[in-house]
């Protein structure tokens, strides 16, 4: 007993958690490599490796131009985007579930998705191109959350409750706005475009999407990762947390900003992809426990892997390509239901 025993117990737990994280990391990398190879036009592994290496070192091309185009303009951006978006949505979900002390909240609890949907719908009505749609979706997502936070600041009472209530209300406002844009949209081309956007899809992923989304994503993900231990304290309630030296208002605001940036950036380039942000943190918690120091990286990896897997299913199994927003629920929900019933029997 005495000094050292505590860190020993802690280290034992850490080793187990780290092993899980490493395993998740390996799975994600393996999935990514697999995803590079397969598709309607399979590309052999040696070509993929050399094409990637060819970016930094001169290698004589033994692949066709068509293969290079497919790889760099279609497959690579799609795989990277699936990884990034899955990672972002899951980490934002984990952060919000901790910050709002509620395991049922998802990244769009503060209206980011509905705001983005409204922005995208307006852009489609205005006849803007894909860059315009993404930009307006991102802008409106940020604007919506700012509005929610401002309303919550003006309201009295429990900050957690007012933020969530304001989020639900403002969301429904923008959701009505989306319905209105559908009503006045041209039913031959604009309406299907809006409907399709709302379902969420990685089909049209372009290198430009990544350039657009990566900076806010990187900023938000780093912030969430750095602050992850503090989320533990926040889950004990504001007053308790503040007697432990945490400035709860400021911390919650920083987390909201970070989570909003990653959510808005994701939704802006892919449309609405539900489910990942709600359920991946739960699955991670079952796997690795509630400590956010481990939960946050686990959610990030699991979210990335899950969305990539579902996207692979989407593009491999069906020629018509079911939008990923639908598939995440089709694949994820039954799996989750299986897990919680299994948990109950234990």
């Amino acid at each position: 007993m005495g000094p050292g025993k505590g860190s020993e117990i802690h280290a034992r737990k850490n080793r187990r958690a780290n092993a899980i994280l490493v395993a998740l990391g390996v799975i994600v990398v393996a999935l990514a490599i697999f995803s590079f190879l397969v598709g309607r036009y399979p590309i052999s592994p040696d070509k993929v490796v050399c094409m990637l290496a060819g970016q930094i070192a001169p290698i004589d091309a033994f692949w066709t131009d068509q293969e290079a185009t497919i790889f760099f303009n279609v497959r690579l951006p799609r795989v990277v985007l699936a990884l990034l978006v899955g990672c972002c949505l899951a980490s934002a979900g984990a952060a919000y579930q901790g910050t709002f002390q509620n395991p049922l909240v998802s990244p769009d609890i503060l209206g980011a998705s509905q705001g983005a949907a409204f922005g995208a719908a307006v852009a489609i009505l205005l006849g803007l191109g894909s860059f315009g749609i993404s930009a307006l979706a991102f802008g409106f997502a940020i604007l919506t959350v700012m509005l929610v936070v401002a309303v919550a600041q003006a309201a009295r009472g429990n900050q957690v409750l007012t933020v969530v209530l304001a989020g639900v209300m403002v969301s429904s406002l923008f959701s009505a706005g989306v319905s209105f844009t559908k009503l006045i949209a041209d039913p031959t081309d604009q309406l299907p475009a809006i409907t399709y956007w709302l379902m969420g899809s990685l089909t049209g992923a372009k290198p430009a999407d990544i350039t657009l989304a990566a900076p806010p994503m990187a900023f938000g993900l780093i912030a969430l990762y750095v602050l992850r231990w503090r989320i533990n304290i926040l889950t004990m309630g504001d007053e308790e947390a503040s007697t432990m030296g945490v400035n709860t208002k400021r911390l919650r605001m920083v987390i909201i900003i970070a989570a909003t940036l990653v959510t808005a950036a994701s939704v802006a380039v892919t449309g609405m992809i539900g489910w990942v942000g709600l359920v991946i943190p739960h699955l991670s918690r079952m796997l690795i426990g509630s400590d956010h120091r481990k939960l946050m990286p686990a959610s990030m990896l699991m979210g990335a892997g899950f969305l990539l897997l579902v996207d692979d299913v989407s593009r491999l199994l069906t020629t018509a390509e079911i939008p990923i927003g639908i598939l995440t629920a089709f694949i994820g929900a039954p799996f989750f239901l299986y897990l919680i019933t299994r948990e109950g029997r234990k």
Binding site: G4, H10, N232, T235, R293
Partner: protein
């Protein structure tokens, strides 16, 4: 160190909750705060902890006016032990204790090995080191309360405020938790805790602060303050205060029940 409160008043809107409270708590004292529900005990604690800001008067903790301290600086001076409650998520006991280790540190702090060891030592100090890797939600209420005490100890503050630490505990756990608190005060910590049981004050406290309708009705040793008249006044029940074991302890017994026997 010490807590010195002078002319403290506090109102929620037009409703005055605390009126002109002045007390001096010396270093290493265990103070029991007694008073019926709604008399301002929790409000007083919230003021001392800096959670209620717009009070009048002054609160000096360890020589520092808490009004001038930041959240972080306050956490260095005082720790708070709430009533044990079930957190939404299931943390390991050691991780719950570890939460206080960042008190006073910067925003990017994350606990190191030395903090983990200190957290474990705190668990050992309250006698539950063996629970370190158990899930916090799956230990008993008394054990949870001890974990929160350990968390306050790991915060390394010299003053501890406890809000009714035993109100939800069974008899055995109540005795265990209170004797642990008593022990800590003997080791030099200044502890202010609220309670509903006058008998507990006789057994465990150095001093008793009696709050009644927002002001100080009495402040002194338990034997001086807790009298038949005072209990009748604040709780509206007639009791007989009995002395036991050469006046080492006293107990309150409701006279109405004695008359029935």
């Amino acid at each position: 160190m010490s807590v010195k409160i002078e002319n403290l008043s506090f109102s929620y809107g037009s409703h005055e909750v605390l009126r002109d409270i002045s007390i001096d708590v010396e270093e290493g004292t265990l103070v029991n705060v007694l008073g019926p529900n709604g008399t301002g005990k929790s409000t007083l604690f919230r003021c001392i902890l800096g959670l209620n800001r717009n009070y009048t008067g002054s609160i000096i903790v360890n020589g520092k006016d808490i009004r001038t301290l930041s959240i972080r600086e306050r956490a260095r001076e005082m720790a708070f032990i709430p009533q044990s409650h079930k957190p939404v998520y299931d943390y390991a006991v050691l991780d719950v204790v570890l939460m206080s280790s960042g008190a006073g540190a910067g925003a990017f702090f994350s606990p190191k090995k030395s903090h983990v060891d200190r957290a474990y030592e705190a668990l050992e100090r309250v006698g539950i080191g063996f629970l370190a890797d158990r899930p916090y939600t799956r230990i008993s209420g008394g054990e949870q309360q001890l974990v929160l005490i350990a968390r306050a100890l790991a915060q390394n503050a010299s003053t501890i405020i406890m809000d009714e630490p035993t109100s939800a505990l069974d008899y055995g756990n109540t005795v265990r938790v209170l004797s642990c608190v008593r022990q800590l005060s003997e080791e030099g910590l200044t502890i202010i805790q609220s309670t509903h049981q006058p008998d507990q004050a006789f057994l465990y406290a150095d001093k008793t602060l009696v709050l009644h309708e927002g002001h100080v009705l009495a402040y002194g040793t338990p034997k001086e303050t807790i009298t038949e008249g005072l209990i009748g006044k604040i709780y509206g029940v007639e009791v007989e205060v009995n002395s036991l074991y050469d006046d080492k302890v006293r107990v309150c017994v409701p006279t109405r029940e004695l008359a029935r026997r």
